[in-house]
Symmetry: C2
Subunit: 87 residues, 2 copies
């Protein structure tokens, strides 16, 4: 399945979350990830994410789609995934 | 059409961008918006966004979909749109 994941978290927890999400998905903007993922991997990712998050303060939104072809992507300005290559 | 819009901008330009995006879409997280929008409205939005953005530094990603039903949304933690009601 194809997912888009966006989070909004307290600064001190961002590093761990970024590292976690990059293990499963492609980083395309500051706090935005996308990619193909299996149901099992997604469960793992969300389980780990909940351990990092403070659910009273942080927010994670996931858009799930069976197939990426239903979504067209348009980028204005910088494409952060290029930066990602150097990290 | 249904769109998800995410931006990553220099702090000093965020206020204007937020205001612009909220005129067209629903604010669901810090820098994430979604909603139904016509082709014409989207053109207007992107035209205005480009005037606010510094395309060398900022990033705006748009996911477009003919129909929202292809996307399933899951929220973990806080749903920012509730906060939005009080602003």
């Amino acid at each position: 399945m194809y997912v888009i994941l966006v989070y909004d978290m307290e600064q001190k927890r961002i590093g761990k979350m970024l590292k976690l999400c990059r293990r499963y998905l492609n980083w395309i903007q500051n706090s935005v990830f996308e990619g193909e993922i299996t149901e099992v991997q997604l469960k793992e990712l969300l389980y780990e994410a909940r351990r990092i998050m403070n659910e009273e303060e942080d927010s994670l939104i996931l858009f799930k789609n069976r197939d990426q072809r239903w979504l067209e992507k348009e980028i204005v300005g910088q494409e952060r995934s290029r930066i990602d290559d150097f990290l």
